[in-house]
């Protein structure tokens, strides 16, 4: 092999050079490998002068291969491939070794870090020798978009894209779009009515000619890749013919069966077996809850059918499976509320009048179970209310992270409780966090309204009275860290400001769409600062609380940002993909058919006549599943050949491996 390799070791300022002896790695590479024609270290390889260094060396010294040891390829592989290309070298004759993410940032011993960097560089050098020049593949981008989740984030994204003239499939699991925001009464810090600002958007999303609204539906399967996803959606049977239904809700009115509504009313009110979750629901069509409907459970009733003026009730309706083609996907699947029962010492579920934040939202909501009156279980108006912050957040027993919205939400509750009941309101907080626009002003306003702020983490909420004044009250036991004393504060009502958690099925959703979750369980963005709505999977974007806790303005911004990214991509019309593809070496294929059912892109067929399996290169996405599975080694993957991978492994192990007898 007479390749001429250029090796470049990046300091990344002190990011790498602070822990790795970069000069030594560069010197060693030149000394050890005869193929290495040039080996340099440089302050910032990704800077223009750094890239020009590579370009000039390729031109002047006729380099045939380039290795850069720097950050993760996710960050700068395109940068250095670009440098190679500008100098006339095929960009795939380049290999990157990550000595920042995989070495300097995760090491504490300079000697070992330097040794490990050498191992990674040797792996790259040995691998790059076997690289072959490749040409990227251009694929068209389907202009339609799938948005999963019809909360405010999803609605915003859908409207932005639809207004740009592209078609959107908006899929929502519940019977209506609106999400958590539809359950709120007021929004902080302006205290404008949540429904008043949300319902116009919901209505627009429901009627927009460019939006196909698929409520009461779920995505079951996603195939394909950026620009060309095939998505299977299950549209659950509402048992209502949407073409005939006018949304008069006579069926709901007459339905004799009442069930506790655990979803929209969070268990605080009842709904019927045929229902819309709330009056402003979009779409307007009700749903028959077959698990509770008398007809479906006991075989008799059909009252709704009798009263329906347009014969829209359709008991025989079946789930519908839709298959749609889209080019891009936005996941706006939102959050779940922390389950307050997990903290038994706060008494939720055991003590009357200990309620969650969402339950309080329903209590204050004009269309809620009490018509907007803040009442105790027995119907009395509370004279004192305690609001506990950080329930399930900033607590190593539950979630270490800050849920970001609870401080402002608790301040809002204090205001509403005060306003509606005149009660004495206590806020129990660890720290007050009000970082966004007008938030601190709101905090001051609540302070001025006479709310009591007690700094300390609540130890317990109990109804066990020690003094006559505590009799019949809920006692909040707290160590007041400002006063330096234990306090017992009797109140009538306790509101637990519950934290936000990833959706229970976030992992499965991630798997379905080929993206991953963080250790906390939130969907992971491509870059936390510079690419917050893209993901590691091309064509799949995330927005809103699916990515992490955030308030409504942040959700709306992310929805719009994801929409802008998608529209930008659609307008490019096509995208260049890495030419990493699998192919079958026919002479080696024995037709064992192990691979035939494995391809996630259905690119593999079996040629009965030749008795060999065949891969359609137009469908293959180079995922490597079949390459790994082929027992005969008859399927080869470009850029990931056996030879390339084995050479890299041998290079990695060369310094560490001492063969014994």
């Amino acid at each position: 092999m007479s390749e001429k390799i250029g090796v470049y070791i990046c300091h990344c300022g002190s990011n790498i050079a602070g822990m790795v002896d970069v000069e030594e790695v560069a010197r060693w590479a030149k000394e050890t490998f005869p193929e290495v024609a040039i080996s340099r270290d440089y302050k910032f390889m990704c800077s223009s002068p750094g890239q020009e260094l590579i370009e000039n060396d390729i031109k002047e010294h006729g380099l045939t291969r380039v290795v850069v040891a720097a950050c993760s390829p996710h960050l700068h592989e395109p940068t250095f491939r670009g440098a190679c290309q500008r100098a006339g070298l095929n960009p795939f004759l380049f290999e990157m070794a990550s000595i920042r993410e995989q070495v300097s940032w995760v090491s504490t011993d300079r000697k070992i870090a330097t040794q490990k960097s050498k191992a990674l560089v040797e792996g790259a050098i040995r691998r790059v020798v076997y690289h072959e020049p490749l040409e990227p593949i251009a694929v068209d981008i389907h202009p339609d978009v799938l948005i999963v989740g019809g909360g405010v984030t999803g609605i915003q994204a859908a409207l932005e894209i639809a207004d740009s003239g592209y078609h959107v499939y908006l899929v929502e699991r519940e019977p209506s779009i609106g999400g958590h925001m539809a359950q709120f009464d007021k929004t902080f810090p302006t205290l404008d009515c949540s429904a008043c600002i949300l319902t116009p958007k919901m209505y627009s999303a429901g009627t927009h000619p460019n939006i196909t609204l698929l409520s009461y539906s779920e995505v079951e399967k996603v195939d394909g890749y950026v620009g060309n996803f095939t998505v299977r959606i299950r549209k659950r049977a509402r048992k209502i013919n949407e073409e005939l239904c006018t949304g008069c809700l006579l069926c709901q009115e007459k339905c004799p069966k009442k069930i506790v509504d655990d979803v929209f009313e969070v268990g605080m009110a009842k709904r019927k077996a045929v229902y819309v979750p709330f009056p402003q629901a979009v779409p307007k069509y009700p749903v028959i809850d077959t698990e509770n409907c008398l007809y479906f459970q006991k075989g008799a009733c059909r009252l709704c059918e009798k009263v329906c003026p347009t014969n829209a009730i359709d008991f025989a309706q079946e789930d519908e499976i839709l298959t749609v083609q889209v080019g891009n996907i936005i996941l706006a699947t939102g959050y779940d509320l922390f389950d307050c029962k997990r903290i038994p010492q706060y008494g939720y579920g055991v003590l009357d009048n200990v309620i969650t934040s969402l339950e309080f939202e329903r209590l204050t909501n004009a269309s809620g179970p009490t018509g907007g009156k803040v009442l105790l279980k027995d119907g009395r108006v509370p004279e004192s209310i305690g609001i506990i912050h950080c329930v399930g957040s900033r607590d190593e027993n539950y979630n270490i992270y800050c849920s970001s919205i609870c401080c402002m939400q608790s301040l809002k509750f204090a205001h509403l409780a005060h306003e509606k009941t005149g009660a004495k309101v206590y806020n129990f907080y660890i720290d007050i966090r009000t970082p966004a626009k007008s938030y601190e002003e709101f905090y001051r306003r609540i302070q001025e309204e006479g709310t009591f702020f007690v700094r300390g983490k609540v130890g317990e909420v109990t109804d066990f009275a020690r003094t006559p004044e505590e009799e019949g009250k809920l006692i909040v036991q707290v160590y007041d860290t400002l006063a330096g004393i234990q306090r017992r504060i009797p109140v009538d009502m306790v509101i637990l400001s519950a934290g936000l958690e990833p959706r229970r099925d976030a992992k499965e959703v991630g798997k379905l769409f080929g993206i991953s979750c963080s250790a906390d369980g939130w969907l992971i963005e491509r870059h936390p600062k510079l690419d917050p709505v893209a993901t590691m999977t091309e064509g799949v974007y995330i927005a809103g609380c699916a990515q992490g806790p955030k308030d409504i303005p942040a959700c709306v911004s992310q929805g719009a940002a994801a929409a802008a990214r998608v529209v930008g991509r659609i307008q490019q019309k096509s995208i260049l993909l890495e030419p990493v593809r699998a192919s079958v070496v026919e002479e080696q294929c024995s037709g064992c058919r192990i691979c035939n059912d494995l391809c996630p892109f259905n690119a593999i067929t079996f040629d009965e006549e030749k008795n060999v399996s065949v891969i359609n290169p137009a469908l293959c996405q180079g995922c490597g599943t079949c390459v790994a599975a082929c027992p005969a080694g008859a399927i080869v993957g470009t850029h990931f050949s056996n030879q390339q991978i084995m050479a890299q492994i041998e290079g990695l192990l060369d310094l560490a491996f001492e063969p014994s007898e």
Partner: protein, 330 residues
């Protein structure tokens, strides 16, 4: 070249069972062609010969050496070096020389436990509790026996090998064909394949030569062949849940075992370009297990009762693993 003008031939067995030798002698009338074209100078199983005679030969004096058996002790290694030095073409002959073979499975155990099994089990009659000792003080002087290595090695792990001929043993017709090829090369009618090639076998896998009907694979159970009441004579064995190694095993044998209703056990080794037979086969089996439920998958995999024997029966010593952990420890 011998005095009679015929090129010299040698065949040697290291850690082997003798099957390779039998298969070689089993080439029937081809043996006449062989005799007409070669002068066997060293072939312990077939003729008398002394190591001293081989040592006395000039380097590269032997044209062709078929070396069978793995390298289990220092004598095996010494013979491998000697024959390498004396031979122009050294062929790793049979599974043991190529990949370690059955004796290589001992690489899963430490020497202590091997000795214990051989000399100290209930079924062993060894009243004096004798163990082999490398040195013995006899009245006539010190006697040595070969020193056992802690792991068995393949031929190419101790000396450079020119060609590989797989099989346990290699099929006689393949041996005959290889001898034919060498004769044709001698007569200038053919050329040797590039060094390092596998000879006497195909480039595809056993399935290529198997007549059984194959469908898209979906495996929902693995069963041992002795537990199957009735084997479908026409359907792929793997599809019947019988863990057949055919898909990963190099073609060349004519798929004899599956034709006879027994699963392929992989003696012809990995297909062209495959680095680790067992790893390949494991990923292949794992890829077609018909379940997404981890517990169900575990249950299906439990049907393979002897994974090491299933996936590494002939190739443990030559695999990426080379040995089990206990064997590496002294």
């Amino acid at each position: 070249m011998s005095a009679n003008g015929k090129p010299k031939f040698a065949m040697y067995w290291a850690a082997a069972c003798g099957g390779c030798e039998i298969a070689t002698l089993n080439i029937h009338e081809k043996v006449l062609d062989f005799d007409a074209n070669f002068e066997p100078v060293f072939w312990p199983v077939a003729m008398d010969g002394k190591v001293k005679d081989v040592e006395a030969l000039e380097d590269n004096a032997i044209l062709l050496t078929l070396f069978n058996g793995g390298i289990r002790n220092d004598e095996n290694e010494e013979m491998a070096h000697l024959l390498r030095r004396k031979s122009q073409i050294l062929v790793a002959f049979g599974s043991c020389a190529c990949e370690g073979g059955i004796p290589g499975l001992a690489n899963l155990s430490s020497l202590d436990s091997l000795f214990e099994t051989a000399y100290d089990t209930l079924s062993t009659d060894n009243p004096e509790n004798l163990r082999p000792s490398p040195v013995y003080e006899a009245p006539e002087g010190e006697l040595h026996i070969p020193r056992l290595y802690k792991v068995l090695k393949t031929l190419d792990q101790v000396v450079p090998v020119d060609y590989y001929m797989p099989g346990c043993p290699p099929e006689s017709h393949q041996i005959a064909a290889v001898i034919d090829l060498v004769i044709q090369v001698l007569q200038g009618k053919a050329q040797l394949p590039p060094k390092g090639s596998v000879i006497g076998a195909g480039v595809s896998t056993c399935c290529d030569e198997c007549d059984r009907k194959r469908n898209v694979k979906k495996i929902s159970k693995f069963v041992r062949i002795q537990d199957v009441k009735e084997i479908d004579p026409e359907l792929c064995l793997l599809e019947q849940g019988i863990p057949c190694n055919g898909p990963a095993t190099r073609s060349g044998c004519g798929a004899l075992c599956p034709a006879a209703g027994a699963q392929c056990i992989g003696c012809y080794g990995p297909a062209e370009g495959v680095v680790d037979f067992g790893a390949r086969l494991m990923t292949a089996f794992a890829s077609v297990i018909d379940s997404k439920d981890p517990q169900e998958i575990s249950r299906i995999l439990d049907g393979i009762v002897d994974p090491a024997g299933q996936f590494y029966r002939f190739n443990l010593a030559g695999s990426l693993l080379r040995a089990g952990k206990p064997a590496w420890k002294w």
